[in-house]
């Protein structure tokens, strides 16, 4: 029931703060990776190169699907902005359902930009069903498709190091974030501007996906502080011998 209470509390906060953020947008702290992301999107359109967006291999049946959904929100905005590009972005993923969702999201972005006729189904690809087969199928895209920036956002494991290595060889920008800790460790050493922890879930807010994303960040902060207080309080009580 505690979990249900936290859930209800989060829902109420989310809805209320979403309405509030629609009226007064939030001022977000500077994250270099997302600044680079916005810049790379514009440069790709201007240079006639393409973006490579990889959503990882997150299964929507597991908790790793949350990072995949965050990647889809970012994909929606990027697809809308790059719809006028000569080379549309390529979206790769290691899960079949995620591939279908990425295609549909890209099409929504093109439709919002009024360029639905520019959309191609081949823009969303499933490159492999296992992590390393997914990485093996992603490497040729990052190497041969005139990619100027590689964006890894989702559930990625250690195989992300291979994709990062290819991006480094091609001298293309790498913006990567994963909910997997080993992947975060690897990407911290590989990417120019690493994203750590829940910064992955802030992608929607930084690309302008909507007020709900900004509200989500605020709810996360509130709940985090509640957790901190709970942990400290529980530790203190445990230290004082008060069991529960």
């Amino acid at each position: 029931m505690i979990a249900l209470g936290i859930l209800v509390f989060a829902v109420v906060l989310l809805l209320a703060l979403t309405l509030w953020r629609r009226r007064s947008p939030a001022t977000l702290r500077k994250i270099d990776a997302y600044d680079r992301l916005n810049r790379e999107v514009g440069l790709a359109v201007e240079n006639g190169t393409r973006l490579h967006i990889s959503l990882g291999r997150g299964n929507l049946f597991t908790s790793r699907g949350g990072s995949a959904l965050a990647g889809l929100a970012m994909l929606r905005r990027i697809a809308e902005r790059t719809s006028v590009s000569d080379r549309p972005p390529i979206v790769t993923s290691g899960d079949a359902a995620l591939t279908i969702l990425s295609q549909d999201t890209s099409q929504s972005g093109y439709r919002a930009a009024g360029a639905e006729e520019q959309f191609r189904v081949s823009a969303g690809r499933m490159t492999g069903l296992s992590p390393f087969s997914y990485a093996a199928g992603t490497i040729p895209i990052a190497r041969d498709e005139n990619v100027s920036a590689t964006i890894l956002l989702g559930d990625l494991g250690a195989e992300s190091a291979l994709v990062a290595e290819v991006a480094d060889r091609q001298d293309s920008s790498l913006i990567a974030a994963s909910d997997n800790l080993p992947a975060q460790t690897i990407l911290y050493a590989s990417a120019q501007d690493p994203l750590i922890g829940e910064e992955l879930f802030a992608a929607g807010a930084y690309v302008g996906a909507g007020a709900s994303h900004e509200a989500s960040l605020l709810v996360q902060d509130i709940l985090r502080w509640l957790i901190i207080l709970t942990i400290l309080g529980g530790a203190a009580l445990k230290f004082l011998g008060i069991g529960f």
Binding site: M1, L4, L7, A10, V11, L14, L15, F61, S63, G66, S67, L69, A70, A73, A96, A97, T99, I100, L101, T105, Q107, S122, G124, R125, M126, L129, S130, F132, S133, A135, A136, P140, D144, A158, A161, L162, E165, D179, L181, Q184, I186, Y188, A189, S190, Q192, I196, G197, E198, L200, F201, G204, A209, G210, S212, H213, S216, Q220, L223, R224, I227
Partner: protein, 203 residues
């Protein structure tokens, strides 16, 4: 249509979610049914994904792009494996040979390349980014490796202390990261649950 999909998504999500919290037989039964439906759809999504993979590779072969040869090998091997799997079954020694001789060695090799890649990336980290965190990162990594490294003389002195002490910070930090990730996953799921984000189209 978009309203119908949004309504169906919301109702399904709420039923499954409430089924976790409330042990109502009807609710539980609905949850199981919806879960079964989702599993079936995910299975068909795998087939669709495979068809998408074939289509992309065929397009690459047709337009004779770079790497189209490997695309042809992929499509050919897929067809052969699928055919033998249907005919012989997954327990057939031929299928086991495909797994033991092809799949596992290939992925293991990629894992080995990963090791070299990580070492190379670690070596170039300070050239790409020179700051306190990078230096600390490398230092801790080296210390950990040294602590767990077996030596002809046994473990190094104080390796266990290092592992426990440094592990304390690493495990704590990892826990914090996992909590943040869990919160982000929670809010993301709630946005999808209440149709604020609709990745299934119409957004």
């Amino acid at each position: 249509m978009r309203v119908f999909t949004a309504a169906f998504a919301i109702s399904s999500g709420l039923i499954v979610l409430l089924g976790y919290f409330f042990q109502i037989p009807a609710l539980m039964q609905l949850r199981l049914i919806l879960t079964d439906w989702a599993i079936v759809i995910a299975g068909f999504a795998v087939l669709i994904g495979i068809f998408n993979l074939i289509a992309v590779q065929m397009e690459k072969i047709r337009t004779r792009q770079k790497g189209s040869v490997f695309g042809a090998a992929l499509v050919l091997s897929l067809i052969v494996t699928f055919g033998f799997g249907l005919l012989l079954g997954p327990e057939d020694p031929f299928m086991r040979l495909a797994v033991d001789a092809v799949i596992v060695p290939v992925e293991a090799a990629l894992m080995a390349i990963l090791a070299v890649t990580l070492i190379y990336a670690s070596m170039r980290l300070l050239r790409r980014r020179v700051d306190l965190m990078s230096v600390l990162f490398l230092t801790v990594a080296v210390i950990f490796l040294a602590a767990i490294m077996p030596t002809p003389f046994g473990q190094l002195l104080g390796s266990q202390f290092i592992i426990d002490f440094a592990g304390m910070f690493s495990r704590g930090g990892a826990r914090g990261l996992l909590l943040g990730i869990a919160l982000g996953t929670l809010l993301t799921g709630l946005r999808v649950l209440f149709a604020i984000d609709r990745p299934y189209g119409g957004n």
